[in-house]
């Protein structure tokens, strides 16, 4: 019992001093000090043989008596000043506690300090300059204000988050240390992971008194991120406050950039760019594409409010392995105004060409570059070639057809015929002479026909191919398929219903491109993104980070977050530390004056 009582006394002693108690202590203490000084100090009595030798002239003695009286009162003033300074210091802490810690959100009267985690968003959007300096600078300022409003009993931890969370400090009550931790929060170009940050804060607050999370952010989070509110160990929702930063939405950003080499022209790249405007009004923005230190393309875009534009630049000169896109013009967020993409090198491919001499085809294969290895087999070995199809990225049957349609592999047939024709009709029909390619039938978006110009192609005759379910006629002459494609699991077959040598297609640029497209289509990874613009080598950003529209109110788990408590501490000067410093100075002066005999 005694120990418990002692603990209570110690707890009470370590707590803040209420103002009323401070006033009582002040009056009593001042009265006691004054009484003690009026009673005078009891001096050591020393008997001397002849006192006049010590006292000197009577005039001097009177002057010394007056001086002594002045010193005596000065000493009293010093003691009262020291007492007052210490009391003000103690009471000031009490006032802070009373102002800040007296009432919680539900209006309950509280005692003791809070445990506060200050979460500062340092994601890419916080680099927007619509605030003085940046949103992050404004967030740091807001964080300093929050730290400055803490009471002496509060403990706070500063953490920053983007894609990950970093604790910038431990739980501290020293505002200067917390301010240093806040100053150490730097910008990031990563998206903000709110749930991860809240989970971190909830974990670190577990078991601490009066847990509170203060989120300093521009609020650009997904609905998923805002669906759950953090809870404590007992499943109760934590007290989360929101301090918004950001004033306006004035940004146009590059959301993605991708480039890839064109197999037919290794010095050129195909580039895809996605730009979005987050401005509330139509905007015009310039786009510069550069590679190898040279600007290789300039485009001007006019974007409607909120419009997302996908820009494809099919043939850009890019000798370097990197390509860069940059928006010209001024907006609030600079980090999304440029993007860089690494151009992936062309893969090494293997092609098995089966058939007789064909200079056109050999020329087209030669144009695929050194990354493509071509093996040749005579027409008689067509069946053997079909059996080796697994070892090649593409097997080209040039006017020959193996005896059995393949079950797996990747094939390009020129004029398939006979029983091994994978598109064999039930009944062999005569070839159609002079078919006319219908431009409306072209599937220009298919990888096989991308960037091909097949209009006005003259074909001497074409064989009628039968399409099975799932097959696609990419080009046709009315009901006569001219170019077909079949995709089955483990099987891809493209076929031209005509012999290219009996058309003017080999004389056109489309022919080598068609061969290159066939190789790319056949060798394409099924799991890869079908969108050619953002496959390998792409830079993709979270559009939320480019959307700098400020969010003044934020809801978590359906509950709107309240702002942090106002800081009444800043409504009046902070006397406490100054008073204590004054007390220390007075104590030092008192010690010095006493030992130098200036006082008493």
């Amino acid at each position: 019992m005694k120990l418990q009582g002692l603990a209570k006394v110690i707890e009470g002693a370590s707590g803040a001093l209420p103002a009323a108690t401070g006033a009582v202590i002040g009056v009593v203490g001042a009265a006691a000090i004054t009484a003690l000084y009026l009673l005078r100090l009891r001096r050591r009595r020393v008997v001397v043989a002849f006192a006049p030798l010590w006292l000197g002239a009577p005039g001097a003695e009177r002057a010394a008596r007056r001086t002594r009286r002045v010193r005596h009162w000065l000493s009293l003033a010093l003691a009262l000043g020291l007492f007052a300074a210490m009391l003000v210091g103690a009471v000031d802490v009490g006032l802070e506690t009373g102002e800040r810690g007296a009432i919680d959100q539900s209006g309950r009267s509280l005692r003791g300090g809070r445990s506060l985690v200050l979460l500062i968003d340092r994601s890419a959007s916080m680099s927007a300059t619509d605030e003085a300096g940046s949103r992050l600078a404004a967030g740091r300022q807001r964080g300093n204000e929050i730290v400055g409003s803490l009471t002496g009993a509060d403990r706070a931890l500063v953490a920053s988050f983007a894609a990950d969370v970093t604790a910038e400090s431990g739980f501290e009550s020293d505002p200067r240390r917390l301010a240093r931790a806040i100053a150490g929060v730097g910008p990031s170009d990563e998206p903000g992971d709110l749930q991860r940050a809240l989970a971190f804060a909830a974990a670190i607050l577990r078991g601490r008194p009066r847990p509170t999370i203060v989120l300093v952010s521009d609020g650009g989070f997904t609905d998923d991120a805002r669906r759950l509110a953090p809870v404590d160990a007992d499943g109760r929702a934590l007290d989360v406050r929101y301090a918004p930063v950001g004033r306006r939405a004035d940004n146009i950003g590059i959301l993605s950039l991708a480039a890839r080499r064109i197999p037919a022209d290794p010095g050129a790249v195909e580039t895809a760019l996605v730009v979005q405007s987050f401005r509330p009004a139509p905007s015009t923005v310039g786009v510069e594409i550069s590679g190898g230190g040279l600007i290789v393309e300039k485009v001007t875009l006019t974007l409607a409010p909120g419009e997302r534009r996908r820009l494809t630049l099919p043939n850009l000169f890019a000798p370097d392995t990197r390509i860069e896109a940059r928006l010209t013009g001024v907006d609030d967020l600079a980090v999304d105004d440029d993007a860089r993409a690494t151009i992936p090198a062309l893969p090494h491919r293997r092609i098995l060409r089966v058939g007789g001499p064909d200079l056109y085809l050999d020329g087209a294969l030669l144009g695929l570059g050194r990354t493509v290895h071509v093996e040749r087999l005579p027409a008689a070995d067509a069946d053997r070639a079909a059996a080796r199809a697994r070892d090649f990225d593409l097997v080209v049957f040039d006017g020959v057809t193996p005896s059995v349609p393949p079950k797996e592999g990747r094939f390009l047939y020129f004029d398939p015929q006979g029983v091994g024709n994978p598109f064999a009709a039930a009944r062999e029909a005569r070839p159609v002479r002079d078919p006319v390619l219908d431009p409306a039938s072209l599937h220009g978006d298919h990888p096989l026909l991308r960037q091909l110009d097949l209009t006005d192609v003259n074909i001497a005759e074409a064989r009628r191919l039968a399409l099975a379910p799932g097959d696609v006629a990419l080009a046709a002459s009315f009901d006569l398929p001219l170019i077909v494609a079949r995709e089955r699991p483990g099987l891809r077959i493209a076929a031209l219903a005509f012999d290219p040598r009996r058309s003017d297609l080999p004389m056109r640029p489309a022919f080598p491109l068609l061969v290159a497209n066939a190789l790319a289509w056949a060798a394409r990874d099924d799991a890869a993104d079908a969108t050619p613009g953002v496959d390998g080598g792409a830079t993709v950003r979270d559009p939320r980070e480019s959307d700098t529209k400020p969010v003044p109110t934020l809801a978590l788990g359906g509950r709107t977050l309240t702002p942090p408590d106002p800081a009444p501490r800043h409504s009046r000067p902070r006397f406490g530390s100054w008073a204590l410093m004054l007390a220390a100075a007075l104590l030092l002066f008192d010690w010095l004056s006493y030992h130098r005999r200036w006082t008493t």
């Binding site: 100090l41 001096r43 050591r44 009595r45 020393v46 008997v47 001397v48 043989a49 002849f50 006192a51 006049p52 030798l53 010590w54 006292l55 000197g56 003695e61 002594r68 005999r597 008493t600």
Partner: protein
């Protein structure tokens, strides 16, 4: 052993047998006293025979002067030779042989009890030494304590008189509780008691801490046509006090208290005032050819007394 030594030893033995000598004067002191007397006699040999001739005209053997006869004079002193030659009636005057009267005045005020060791101890020892040497020279010696409760033994001659003196000094205690009597006033009182019966020598052993100034007592002695010897004693902590801080100073004699902060400056002022007091005393004594000795109470008395006699002007 000399007769004087025998006397001292006898006195010492009697005293010890009677238990009449207290803590101040033990065997060692008495032996030192005897040894001191011998040393002084050898030191001053040829200068004095231990007796002084007074200027009084009386029944001595040495012719001094003539004076006219007046009726009633003793005709036995009439100088008949002069009458026969000049028919003038004149009396022959002779210098009277008279022993020296030595008064040793010891300031026994409360201020003399101060110090470590107390100044009074050295003062009593010096007084005893002076008295013993005087008695050894067959002078009439009286020891008087100023400002003390008990009166001293009557003047006497011969070494045997040392014992009453020692007992008197041993029993002396400063008079406490009484208001301060200045040194000059105490000397005035002594002189009035002594009367002008004879001239002599007065040795004043004191600290000379007198509100009237250090010279006032000596001036009184000189005004009564007495030779004076000044022995000033200070305690070591009066010469170089070690006091510091806030103190309540209490005057040993008056009991008056004063609050004082002893700073280095105040200490320097005190030292300066004390030195000025000693300078004033020394200056006055030099002007009047008064032997003056300034002593510290921690000095051994025999060395002090020997130095005093070697300096001359004492008892010789």
């Amino acid at each position: 052993m000399t007769p004087a030594g025998d006397n001292a030893a006898r006195a010492d033995g009697a005293a010890r047998a009677d238990g009449r000598i207290g803590s101040r004067f033990d065997d060692r002191f008495l032996r030192k006293l005897e040894s001191l007397a011998l040393t002084i006699r050898r030191t001053t040999a040829g200068r004095s025979h231990g007796m002084r001739r007074s200027r009084r005209v009386g029944a001595g053997l040495e012719f001094a002067d003539h004076r006219d006869y007046v009726p009633g004079d003793d005709l036995r002193h009439l100088d008949w030779n002069l009458y026969g030659r000049l028919e003038r009636r004149a009396l022959r005057l002779y210098e009277e042989d008279e022993d020296l009267s030595i008064d040793v005045l010891v300031d026994a005020s409360l201020s003399m009890a101060m110090g470590q060791p107390p100044k009074l101890d050295l003062a009593f020892q010096i007084a005893a030494a002076l008295a013993y040497v005087g008695l050894s020279n067959l002078d009439r010696v009286a020891v008087t304590a100023l400002d003390a409760e008990a009166a001293g033994p009557p003047p006497g001659r011969g070494k045997a008189r040392i014992l009453p003196i020692l007992r008197y000094l041993d029993a002396l205690r400063p008079r406490e509780g009484s208001p301060r009597t200045s040194l000059a006033a105490a000397v005035r009182e002594f002189l009035s008691r002594r009367g002008g019966r004879r001239r002599g020598l007065v040795a004043l052993v004191s600290d000379f801490y007198d509100p009237a100034g250090p010279r006032a007592a000596l001036e009184l002695i000189g005004r009564n046509r007495l030779e004076a010897i000044a022995v000033q004693i200070s305690a070591p902590d009066e010469l170089a006090p070690q006091l510091r801080g806030d103190l309540q100073l209490c005057d040993a004699e008056t009991g008056e208290t004063r609050e004082l902060t002893i700073s280095p400056r105040a200490l320097a002022d005190y030292t300066q005032r004390h030195a000025a007091l000693l300078r004033e005393l020394g200056g006055y004594c030099r002007e009047r050819a008064i032997p003056c000795f300034t002593l510290s109470s921690d000095q051994p008395f025999d060395a002090v007394v020997l130095r005093m006699f070697r300096a001359g002007g004492l008892l010789g």
